[in-house]
Symmetry: C2
Subunit: 344 residues, 2 copies
């Protein structure tokens, strides 16, 4: 299969963190976060600064967890939803680490992990790297939709942009005897797929086709990959509507393989919040959603061996407020990485 990159050197998750705001703290996995801010300003004077501060806090916690300093990092890959990704750059510049800025909307986490693992595989001296992605509900609402003060009613199909950041310290090394660190073993970039919708209030719907495209490519007959080998196929963030569309597509188009994918599928946007108690409509979204779900919850399960092999497929909706007003289609993209447990 020409599309999947299998890494010669394993890239281990040595440390990771999840930072969130009030809603995230009272969500389903709120207790597993490393840091929750009771308000969404994180002590800053603007929501934009707050997002940067989240990135900085997440990075510091992740560094501390594996007991290394920023000087030991060869590269930092990051991105967020703010125009020109300023949330990441202004939050992370003080670490002084060589930097690659990426944009993949809510898919940025998977794209960043894949690119970082690739760069570390090719850079002989690149032993350690970091990935940070974030989103902030209040910066996103006023940038993509309306200022919060406007108090507009949200459509039932909308998702709740997570106020959250995740940081991940990656290390290229040999396995050791008592290893329990999860590692990245493969990466496959996603294709830009027309979502055939202009409705900015239905991101999950716009991204469903693209997640289906990536699953079809990854499990194509030529790839040699078998669904049975995976315990979890995690998208983020299709939410309820996108997940339902994906499920239908899988069964209708891929038959038995589709059924098996469906059985193993979950979505970060459906994990982060308790949709019965929290007013998040179709679920969570944002670069910080899959990042915090991975950092707070999923990677710990892989570390414990509860999940042996998984695919992370964060999904991104590619649009901006101008393109929507101009009546352009919304595109989706779904990169994919393979994560394995060191615990057999």
């Amino acid at each position: 299969m020409r599309d999947i990159i299998y890494f010669g050197e394993k890239i281990y998750f040595e440390g990771y963190s999840a930072v969130g705001g009030f809603e995230e703290g009272r969500g389903t996995i709120g207790e597993k976060f490393d840091f929750i801010s009771e308000d969404d300003l994180f002590g800053m004077k603007s929501f934009e600064r707050a997002e940067s501060e989240m990135c900085r806090i997440a990075m510091n916690i992740a560094l501390k967890k594996c007991n290394i300093t920023n000087d030991e990092l060869s590269v930092l890959v990051a991105g967020d939803l703010q125009n020109q990704c300023v949330g990441s750059t202004s939050g992370l510049f003080s670490f002084g680490v060589p930097y690659l800025g990426l944009y993949g909307a809510c898919s940025t986490l998977t794209e960043s992990l894949g690119v970082c693992a690739s760069i570390m595989n090719v850079g002989a001296s690149y032993k350690r790297g970091a990935v940070v992605t974030s989103s902030h509900n209040c910066t996103s609402e006023r940038q993509f939709r309306n200022p919060l003060e406007y108090g507009g009613q949200r459509a039932p199909s909308t998702q709740w942009t997570a106020t959250a950041a995740g940081a991940f310290i990656l290390e290229k090394r040999e396995a050791n005897e008592k290893d329990d660190a999860p590692f990245i073993s493969a990466f496959m970039p996603g294709r830009v797929i027309d979502g055939y919708t202009k409705d900015a209030a239905n991101m999950g719907g716009a991204m469903a086709l693209s997640s289906f495209d990536t699953m079809s490519r990854f499990f194509s007959p030529e790839s040699g990959e078998r669904v049975e080998d995976y315990d979890l196929i995690l998208t983020g963030d299709l939410g309820k509507i996108g997940s339902d569309i994906l499920s239908e597509l899988l069964v209708e188009k891929l038959g038995k393989i589709g059924e098996k994918i469906k059985e193993r599928h979950n979505d970060a946007g459906l994990i982060l919040y308790d949709r019965e108690k929290q007013d998040v409509h179709a679920g969570g979204s944002g670069c910080g959603c899959s990042a915090s779900v991975m950092g707070a919850d999923i990677l710990k399960k892989v570390k414990r061996g509860e999940i042996k092999k998984m695919l992370l497929m964060s999904t991104g909706a590619l649009m901006n407020s101008t393109s929507v007003l101009q009546g352009e289609h919304i595109f989706g993209i779904t990169p994919c990485i393979k994560i394995e447990s060191s615990v057999l």
Copy 2:
């Protein structure tokens, strides 16, 4: 030197193109462009669509030049200045190539070439990739500053965002006997450097420190790299003001090595337009500036062997219209790739 990635496999520029608008056509290297549109709409109904159309045209020309189809590409790396990089995604989705979206402001070309070459080095089956970057004066003016209709007077320190796109088809292969294709042999990501300015009308000034940082790192005593080995060190786009600041820094801080860098330094923002005849103030800028200067002019000189070894260091100013209004600093970033001639 831990920072420079030297590629095991050479990544050749097999085909490349430059597409531009009216001002670019009457600029210093206008005749060398592959396609010039007499108006800046490229037959589209909006400037945003026009930018996407430029990307599509540039990609098609580059593919045609090396006689391959989009199906033969394993990966496409792209970015632009529009919010959420929609110029690239909507212009390039129809090629159906696995896609990595990057954001590095005007540095996006160098970052994209470096990431694409890295991915091709690590992906065993990744034989061919493509890089496309673009900018459009009219989409940028209204997004970052004022709508064109407002007719605001531009400060003398401003630069002119190029209406241009460049596309580059990269190939991983052995050298052949009659080879004359330029190739990428190394990549070094840039660091995010505080430009110590809040003036969005002086991008060159905001990026000068970051270009100096990258040069200092690349030619540090531990790196083993010698300035004398290079014929050209091309930044893009510091313009007149940024280049002047860089020159002073080089001589003051790096002494003799700085003098040698200064002798070999040129800037894409000073090459694209004729500043005496065109009203571009401090020079050109935008992701399309260094892309079109490379695609229309510089790579042809490397192909002919007039330039044996060069460094491409596109420079990016990291800010958005909100961060400027909130009084935040503007950051700069300068990634670097090493390009060599096959002609000895």
